[in-house]
Each structure stands twice: as structure tokens, then as C-alpha cells.
């Protein structure tokens, strides 16, 4: 779904919640006249279960789209191994292969990206602009943060992730 220039995606979890509550409402309204009398506000409330995640996704994607150019200008291309806790808060760019993807169903994907020097978690708090799959070669832009805000190993708060052509990466390495 597209709102303005922003491609909005609803998470599987939000859809599942909507479907479950729709079934509940259907069953309840068939069996209870009292529930049927309340449908005038129950149906809008049900749709809010979809509208709120859509609105949140739209806002976060627009925010990320706005800040990406600043990261493109400021981020330094580094090897994964060089990212350490002294770099907390620094914008970085890494290039590597997506080894694993977690929490995609929550619209909060976490990519494990590896280069020749090591691997690092790249946490994204919204959906990426393009579909990313395991084994894709990607460029990640983001900020070095701690895994759990105040504690934990350094990870990347991913602002942008996009696929790279393997030939481009090899040319850069050469």
C-alpha cells in the first residue's frame, strides 16, 4: 500500500491480530444480541487494529526516509571488526552478506550482516525500502548503538539497507 510517496507495509502480527479479533467479533455478534447492539463502535475499533500499525509504519518510514540522506553524507565505510563500543553514536556504513534475518514478521527486522572480518546485528525499527533476503549482498547505513540501550555488545541501528550488486562490491574491494 502506498500513502503519498511512502510504501507502507503491515506486519504479519498486526494482520493476525486483526483476523483473530474479526473472528471473535463475528462469533460473538452471531451469538449475542448485546454484542450486535454495540457493533457501531466495535467495528471501527476493530479496524483501528489495522489503522494504528499502518499509521505507525507510515510515520516511521517517512522519518527514516528523511534522515537517510544525512547518514549517506556522514557515515564512514568500515569493516565489521572495527565497530566497537568506543564508536557508540557514530554513523557507519558497512557492506556485507545477510546471513540471517529475524523478527521480520514484527516489521522490526534484525539482519545479521557479515563481511570478511566478522558479523554484526543490524536492527531496523521499521520495514526496509526493498525486500531483503538471506545471502543478499547489502549496504547498511546506521548508527552504532548498544544491543539493549545501556548494555550489550555494539550493534547497528539500521537506518537504510539496500541490495548491492556483487560485482560492485568486488570492484570496490579491488
Amino acid at each position: 500500500m502506498k500513502i503519498g510517496n511512502v510504501e507502507v507495509k503491515v506486519s504479519l502480527l498486526a494482520i493476525a491480530v486483526f483476523v483473530v479479533f474479526t473472528i471473535f467479533l463475528l462469533v460473538a455478534s452471531i451469538n449475542s444480541a448485546e454484542v450486535r447492539s454495540q457493533l457501531i463502535w466495535l467495528i471501527p475499533a476493530l479496524f483501528m487494529l489495522l489503522v494504528i500499525p499502518i499509521a505507525l509504519n507510515y510515520m516511521s518510514r517517512r522519518e527514516y526516509a528523511d534522515i537517510t540522506p544525512a547518514y549517506e553524507a556522514e557515515a564512514k565505510t568500515v569493516r565489521v571488526k572495527l565497530i566497537n563500543e568506543n564508536m557508540i553514536g557514530k554513523p557507519v556504513r558497512i557492506e556485507g552478506v545477510v546471513e540471517k534475518i529475524r523478527f521480520q514478521f514484527l516489521n522490526r527486522p534484525q539482519y545479521i550482516v557479515a563481511d570478511r572480518s566478522g558479523e554484526i546485528s543490524c536492527k531496523m525499527f521499521t520495514t526496509p525500502l526493498e525486500e531483503i533476503h538471506e545471502h543478499d549482498v547489502v549496504e547498511v547505513l546506521g548508527q552504532v548503538i548498544r544491543r539493549y540501550v545501556m548494555v550489550g555488545d555494539p550493534v547497528i541501528n539500521c537506518v537504510s539497507i539496500r541490495k548491492l550488486d556483487k560485482k560492485t562490491v568486488q570492484a570496490k574491494e579491488r
Binding site: A75, K76, T77, V78, R79, K81, L82, N84, E85, N86, M87, K90, V92, R93, R116, S117, G118, V144, R147, Y148, V151, G152, D153, Q170, A171, K172, E173, R174
Partner: protein, 281 residues
């Protein structure tokens, strides 16, 4: 450098005891509950949940002391407090819950060990350990000729690079080279400053790896942490030499700073996890 080893051994033994305590306490609590219920002895079966409570606190501690934190293991005490605060009335239900919880804690312990690595080794403040300590010790004799100003510049240059302040590295490295002039120290130290300066500029400007770049000479090899790679690119065009030069330069400057500038050790100690990561590859 012997005391950290003792501390590491003690930590390892303590960690093993704590790991053993997780299943022992959780299943022990469940076994006690079964014993109380079967024998009909006086005593509330629900209090045996305390075994799971203590076991989950130990599991959370084991998760906390690892460099890589496991949020699932860290939050297990919350669930056990809920079980403990709101016990079930039926002994069978309590025992079933305890057994399932004990199995869950044991699975989480195995997961913690397999996926989140070993516990961080407790070390004395201001001491290094592992391969980094060995390397720093190995090149100590070569560092005696480095003047204090040069060692301090090595510390500042290393720390600036570690902090991602690449724009400041060339100036610091230039001052380092000047400080080493006429000191009679091995030329590898000067080369390390030059490599770091060159690579910091490349990183600052996000430039691709150049065809020609500063490298250590084969005569420098005895002072380097890792051997010089063969002078040819891999089949996919990747050049090991560029990354190896940076790793060796970072480690050489860290060792020079550690051995030559005691005043900077506190700052270097805060970056030793980074240096360890570089040396362990």
C-alpha cells in the same frame, strides 16, 4: 601477567558451579515438592518454587556476565517471581509447573552457552590477557627505545581510530612520526603511524581500497602480530594485505603505547576489547 590467569581460572570454576546450580536447584525444588506431596509431610509444596526462583536468578546472572547479553535468560527471574507471588492451590499443578519451568531453565542454559559464548573473564584493572597480553609482552624490548612523547602519540592515534574519529588520526599520526624521529626505535613503529594515517583518510572519505598503499616491510615482521600475507590478490580480487596492514598497525601502536606510556594505560584498557578483537581476527 600471572594474576589475571588465576582470576580467570577462579572465574571459570565459579561459572561452572553456577551453571550446575541452575538444573540442580530448579529440579531439586521440584523433587522436594514431589517428596513432600507423596510422603504427606507437613510443609507447603508451593514454597519449593523458591528453587526455581534462585535458579532463574543464577541464570540471569550468567547471562549478565557474558559480553553478549541474552534478554530471554535475563528476564527469567520475572517469571519465577510471578510463579512465586501467585502460587497455584493444587500441588499437582505446582509440581507440573515447577518441572516445566526447570526444563525451560535448563534449555535456556544450554542455549545461553551455545549461542552467547563464554562468560567474560574477570581481570584485574589495568592488566591485559590472552593473545593481546602475549603480544604486548613479546614486543616490550623493542618499545624501550620509544620516547614517552611517541608512546603517548601512539595511544592517542590508536584511541582516535578505535573511536571512529578518522579525521583526527592523520594529524596525531604525523605528530607521532615526528616524536619518533631520531629515537632509534624500530622503523616498524613509524610505518604503523603512516599506515593508520593513510587508512584513516581512506575511511574518512569512504574511498575504495587503492591499488598501492603503505605496508610493512618484511624486516618488520618479527614485531608484527600477524604474518604478512602473500603479495597477491585472491581470485575474487580481494586483497588481504590492506586489512592485515591496518590490523598490524593498530596492534603495534597499542603495544607501543601500553609499554611506553603508563599514564595512558587507563584509556587503553577501555579499548582493549577492540584490540583483542583485532588480534583474534
Amino acid at each position: 601477567m600471572s594474576s589475571p590467569v588465576v582470576t580467570a581460572n577462579n572465574t571459570s570454576q565459579n561459572t561452572k558451579s553456577y551453571e550446575l546450580a541452575v538444573p540442580v536447584l530448579s529440579f531439586g525444588g521440584a523433587a522436594l515438592a514431589i517428596f513432600l506431596w507423596v510422603s504427606g509431610l507437613a510443609g507447603d509444596v508451593r514454597y519449593t518454587i523458591a528453587g526455581c526462583l534462585v535458579a532463574s536468578c543464577i541464570l540471569a546472572y550468567l547471562a549478565w556476565i557474558r559480553p553478549k547479553k541474552d534478554i530471554v535468560a535475563l528476564t527469567t527471574p520475572v517469571y519465577s517471581i510471578i510463579f512465586f507471588a501467585m502460587p497455584l492451590d493444587e500441588p499437582v499443578a505446582t509440581i507440573t509447573l515447577e518441572l516445566l519451568y526447570a526444563v525451560s531453565l535448563s534449555i535456556l542454559l544450554v542455549r545461553l552457552k551455545s549461542r552467547f559464548g563464554e562468560a567474560a573473564v574477570a581481570r584485574e584493572e589495568g592488566t591485559l590477557s590472552g593473545p593481546l597480553a602475549d603480544y604486548v609482552d613479546k614486543i616490550k624490548p623493542a618499545c624501550t627505545a620509544i620516547p614517552p612523547a611517541g608512546a603517548h602519540r601512539a595511544a592517542v592515534t590508536f584511541l582516535r581510530y578505535a573511536s571512529g574519529e578518522y579525521g583526527d588520526v592523520p594529524d596525531e599520526a604525523r605528530d607521532g612520526v615526528l616524536a619518533l624521529d631520531g629515537s632509534g626505535c624500530a622503523p616498524a613503529f613509524k610505518t604503523a603511524f603512516e599506515i593508520l594515517a593513510e587508512q584513516a583518510v581512506i575511511t574518512e572519505k569512504s574511498q575504495p581500497v587503492p591499488e598501492w598503499y603503505k605496508q610493512f616491510a618484511s624486516a618488520d615482521e618479527p614485531l608484527l602480530a600477524r604474518p604478512l600475507p602473500p603479495q597477491k590478490k585472491k581470485t575474487d580480487g580481494y586483497d588481504d594485505g590492506f586489512d592485515a596492514a591496518l590490523d598490524n598497525a593498530l596492534l603495534l601502536l597499542f603495544a607501543a603505547a601500553w609499554n611506553g606510556s603508563e599514564a595512558d594505560r587507563g584509556y587503553l584498557f577501555k579499548a582493549d576489547a577492540f584490540a583483542t578483537r583485532v588480534i583474534e581476527g
